[in-house]
Every structure is written in C-alpha cells, then in structure tokens.
Symmetry: none
Subunit: 216 residues, 4 copies
DNA sequence: AATGAATGAGTGTTCATTCAT
DNA sequence: CATGAATGAACACTCATTCAT
C-alpha cells in the first residue's frame, strides 16, 4: 500500500522478460549468499556465477556490471523485511495494533535476517551513485511506512510524547542492533528475550508504556 | 579506569619506538581521511602513503599490510569517541550525573564524528581475523564502560526498569543512527535538536524520564 | 570487360540462392555503415545484425565468421567505385577520351565515397588470408583496367612519357588522397576544386598536359 | 627548424625522467614490431611487454593504457621519417636543391620504412581522440614543412604551375604508395627504379620537369 | 631509515560463435 | 529457416607487496 519507489532499471541482453525475472531472483539470492560470506569486494563475479549455477558469460546476459548485482541484492533484501512488516499488519485495522504488530515484525526480522541486514549496512556504500539513490529511496519509503503507522496511532489517541520527529527513524534503527551487535548479543542475551526487551524499550521511549501490557 | 583491552601488536621494521608511534599516528589520521572518501577497498596503498606524506616503501616500514592500516584506523577512531566520553565524566562523581553526561557526550560524538563512525560500521568486516577481534574487544570495553555507569546509577537509586540487560547496548547503539541515517536526518532534522530528542528518548526508554528535567 | 577475378566463395546454411544474395547485399551495406562508424574491431556482430535487421543467429546462416562480413564489405565497396569508372567510359570509344573520363570518374568517386575508401584502407589488413587475396585480386583487376586504358591511349598516339610502368598505380592511388587526407583538405580546399587540381596534376605528370585544355 | 607541435603528455608512475624516456623508446620500438606483425587490435599488452623485455606490471608504470602505446608508436614513427627529410636538407641552402632533396628523401623513406608507414595508415583510426589530434598535428606540421619548401622554391624562381594549393599534400601523399601498394609493386617494379619514376612524376606534375635533368 | 621501481596474480568485462527449440 | 540464450576463452588493467640501492 505504501508508495513503492521506482526501482532502478537494469538493462538486459535477454528478451524473455519472465526468464530475466527468474534468473535475477536466483542471482540475487546466490549473490547475497556469496557476499555474506566474503564481502562484496572480495567476492568475484566468478563466485557469484558459480553460486547461481550460471557461467560468467550467461550471468552478464542478465546484469551489466558487478554494481548491478549489488543493487539487485540490496533491492531484494530490503523488499524482504519490508514484506515481513507489511504481512504482519495486513489484516489489522486498529491503528495501535497495527503499529505494535509492525514493530514486533520488524524486530523479529532484524534478528532472523541478521546476516542480510549486516550485509546491507556494510556494503551500501559500495553501490554506484544511481543504485545508491534507488536503494535509499526504497529504505526511505520503508521508514515513511512507519511514520504513517505512528501518525495514525497518534490520531487514534495513542499518547506519543517522545521523540515526535525522530520516532520513525528510531523505531526502524534500534532493532538493527540485533544484527550489527550480534557478535556481542549472541554471548549475552540470545533469542526472543532480546526481542521483547527491545519492543518494550521502544514503546516506553515513545511514551506509551501501557502498551506493553497487551503486547504480543 | 575501564580495563583497556590489549591492542594487537603490529610488527615494525623500525627500532626507534617514538618514531614508530609518531608515524603510525600520522598514518592512521591520513588513512582515515582517504578511507572516508573512497572506502577501504577502493583506496590504494599509494593513496594512503601520499596522504600521509610518505613513500610507499617507507609506509611499509611501519605497517605490514593494508589490513594493518585499517586496524590502525579503527583503533584510533574508536579511541577518539571513547576519550570523548571519558573526558565528559572525568570530574563528575555523582553516578546519575555521570551517566547522563556520558550519554550526552556519546550522542554528540556520534553526530560530530559521523564520517568516522560510518567508516567503522562499513569497514569493520574488512578487518582480518586478529584485527577484528582486537577491535571488537576495544568496542566491547567501551560498551562495558556504559554498563558500569548504568549499574552505578542504579545502585545509587536510579529507577531503571527498562531493558535492564540490553541497556548498555541500546545506549551505545541508538546514537549511531545520527551517523548511519545522516542521509535522511540531514534533510529532516539537523543539528543539536536531534541530539536532544535522542537523549530524551534514551532516558525515557530506560525508565527514568524525570531525568530529562535536569538534563544538560 | 576486364577479367573479373573469381570471388572467394562463402559457404551458407541456406539453400535458396536468391535469398542468400539479397541478404548478403543487405548485410554488406549495413556492415559498411557500422564499420565506418566504429571500425571493424570495435563493431560487434550484434551491431551488424541489428543494423541489417537480422538476429545474430540468422546472420550466421548467411556468413560463417566476422571475417566473412569484412570480406563482403570490401568486395562490395570495391565493386562500387569500379562500377563508377566502368559506367563513365561505357559509351566512349575514343581511347584518350576513355582515359580522361576514367580518371575523372575515379577522382570523383574517391571524394564522394571517402568514408568507404577510408574504411578499405584501414581494415584491409584485418582480412583473413583468403579474403585478403581475393580482395587484392579484385583491386589488382581494377588497376589493370586503368593499365589497359593507358596502354590504349598510348597506342592511339597519346604522348605518355612519364612514369610508364607506374602510371596505372599512380593514377589509382593519388586520388585516394581525397579520402585519406580529408582531415586536412576539408579545411584547406574543399569540393570539386580539389578534384580539378588533382586531374590536372595527374595528366601533367603523365606527360600529356595538353589534355587539360579539353578536360571535363 | 619546423615548429614541432606540442606532443600529448603521457602520465607515468615513475619519477626518474631519464628512465621514462629510455623505457618508452624501447616500448615504442617493440610495440611497432608487434603491431606490424599482428595489428594493433590483435596484439595484446602481454605481447608488447614481452617484446619490450618488461613484465606487464612494469609496462604499466610507463604508460596508462594501450592507446598510449599506439600513440607512442605513431609519434615515434612519424618523427623518424620527418627526421629523414630534415637530415637530407640540413646542409643545403639553395631552395630548389632543398625541395628536390626533401622529395627524394621522403620517397626513399616511404620505400624503406614501408612497414611502419603501413602501420600508421592502418591504425591511426584506432587512436583515442586526444592521441589522434596530437598525431594529426604532428603530420600536419610535416606537410607544412613541405609547403614551406615549395613556397621557397617558387620565390626563388622555380616555375611551379601545377596544383599550387595541393602541392604539399600531393608530394607527401603519392610516395606513400610505395608502402601501401607494396603488395603489387613488389611484383612489378622493385627497388630504386620505382623511386626514380615517382620523383620524376612529382616534379613533372608540379610543372618543373627541367629539374629532372639535374636530379639525384 | 628512505626510496621507488619491479612484480605478477587476479578481476571485471566482452564477444564471436554455437545450437537447441 | 529463424530465434536468441548459452558459452568460455581472452584481454586490459590494477595494486598490494617486495627489495635492491
């Protein structure tokens, strides 16, 4: 429902649009795997092609450059956690319930998709100018999705007196900690407990601690 | 006061220890500049040497590999924001005041050192095994510094009922947003305002909102 | 009338001979266009196929290799200026008039077909062994055509006392200057004037300057 | 004495200017050899490096791109035949003698350096924009050198009534035939004979056939 | 201790050609 | 007879690292 930003167009040598879609999905998936393991710069096109079950030459029929691959990965991974959140609020109509569900879903996504999230935060800067803008636009749309949920909850009467203008940013950033601090949290506090604490912290910070009671 | 972790030892060709220290400081500073601009992988040893006013050959008298340089940079930048915080609480003895001052200082450091922080979060994964462990240990010590401050404040009677075990992590992660979301915040909410909102949010999240009143 | 050299045979996948002829004409024409713009090596088979309105696969039904295309182009372009000259002397029977008309026509062809001529002189060396021999034989026949015209004029009484053995070569080479030195002549001396000067120079060099009077 | 055009500057990684000069001379010489044999596009950087007795990496310390090498070759070969001509007129002061000597020297250079000349005429179009302009400027200067010689001879009283404005171009183009038509002339008319005929033809074309008598 | 030239393995990318449908 | 996806060998160029002076 959120206005999805126009994705960057990647030119292909292949005419069969359905084939292009399918292959690119496979490439994005395989590349994500490779990049997670070795990092974008260390990974070679050869690695990606092999992981995707394609030859180098064939790979280049579907993308134009290594940057295209990185863009494909970003686009795909961002779409995934966005879908997680959208799916979580799909049936709900109560604004407060929608916000709570969204936060929960996002927090969970950050924990479950930690490797993907780390990849994004590490390699976004390696994107070319156009790819970067497209990805940031996509991320921006996601953050604004939360902005809308918060605004609706407030209009519905929820008392949000904390960080009025930063709220959407905070809510979409703090949970990233579960991915970027995993090296530390894994040892200290694992699993869903961390999720619960984070959700509570966020709601309290927003100024609506009472929501904790009926959370989850 | 916090137990500083043993730094990784970098072997040098040069005997004069003072010279080694001085040169490495210059290298770290120059490399940080170069890496911020071009990223670690894109930057070449030549770039770093030139920026440091050394020749390539000379550079290699003080470091053993490109990874050493990245480690030097991490070590240096991490030490800087750590020092910011330590300096902020230096004269203070009241546990609550110490915690508040530390949070403030850290938030400010994240905003002012945004380029350095972004560099750290983007390139840490490029570190070699040993360098990575050393840097994570350093970061861990910093987080534990906050853990200690929080614990002290609690013992002093501060009501911290939010995220007891995650508190130190949250406090040392959320402000990073000022650096990593700068592409967005710059347009929305610039300068010290964002700092204030963040501090308030953190304190509220910790469960001690009354602290806001006498903040700063 | 001159004995046209046996052209190199290009094997085709297609049985319909008329279709093969038609397609190859289109390919030669399209390829010439592409090669003039980008050069033979820089141009891709894809470029040629597109320019000819064929797919890559179809293209390969009419030629066997990229070299075949280059040969087709050479063969075609050489035939064109040869036809220009042959057409110019078609109705004439007076040997001296025939020679003069041939020279004029060739000079004009070099100026008008400058792009084609440049293409020939630049890319002939890229031809494979067999193609090269075939093209050189074709060119040789063209030069011998002039040799015959000169010989006939001499037998008719024209005083040709200059460069008796090189005459045909000179006459068929000097005008090429209008194509290969176009980068310079365009600025200095454009259009038909250059043609006139060249013709006069050639006749004077051949030792029959009196021919200038009734030229054109 | 002629105003040499400013050559294109090629950036080097090496500081020792004398070394750069020496190496580049070797590279130009070796590359010319390789390009003559295989052509510019077919020759690889590896071929050139090997022929120059350098490793690939070292080669790139003295040039920036393959285009640089081609430029180096052009610049070198053009300078060679230019030097041939300049050397031939060095001691002479009589304008007519100077012109005659220059023509003779150029004709001889074209025959002796036929392989280099063919290389130039085949590969000039492969030069990049800047390189091309630099080379054309160099060639233009050479042609203007002849323009000056012709003008001086005319002022001295030599009757030049043929192709006044094209004279310099013709004189510097026709002899190229000895290189570009070598595939034909070798069989028909070899050695110095062809040279003599060409010189005679040129002088006759210029309208001063009496010069033939005291030629050579 | 400083210099800077040499090295060579490695990388992204291209493209002529083939062939199953 | 047409199509267009697949192939893989090849190539220009980079750069961290070494080492003789």
């Amino acid at each position: 429902m959120s206005t999805a930003p126009a994705p960057r167009v990647i030119a292909a040598q292949i005419k069969d649009e359905a084939l292009v879609q399918a292959r690119r999905a496979r490439i994005a998936e395989a590349a994500a795997r490779v990049f997670r393991e070795k990092g974008f710069h260390t990974a070679t096109i050869r690695d990606v092609a092999e992981a995707a079950g394609l030859t180098q030459g064939t790979l280049y029929n579907y993308i134009r450059s290594k940057d295209d691959i990185l863009y494909l990965v970003h686009q795909d991974l961002t779409a995934r956690y966005t879908a997680d959140v959208e799916r979580a609020i799909e049936g709900l109509s109560d604004p407060r319930a929608r916000l709570r569900a969204a936060i929960r879903a996002f927090v969970r996504a950050m924990r479950e998709r930690h490797a993907d999230i780390r990849l994004i935060y590490q390699e976004t800067h390696a994107l070319g100018r156009d790819s970067l803008h497209a990805v940031l636009a996509q991320t921006d749309a996601f953050i604004r999705l939360f902005g809308g949920l918060i605004e609706a909850a407030r209009r519905d009467g929820m008392a949000i007196d904390g960080a009025p203008r930063l709220a959407a940013d905070i809510v979409t950033f703090l949970p990233v900690m579960l991915a970027l601090r995993r090296w530390r949290l894994r040892h200290a506090l694992d699993g869903p407990e961390a999720e619960d604490e984070l959700v509570a912290f966020l709601l309290r910070g927003l100024g609506c601690p009472e929501e904790i009671a009926d959370g989850s």
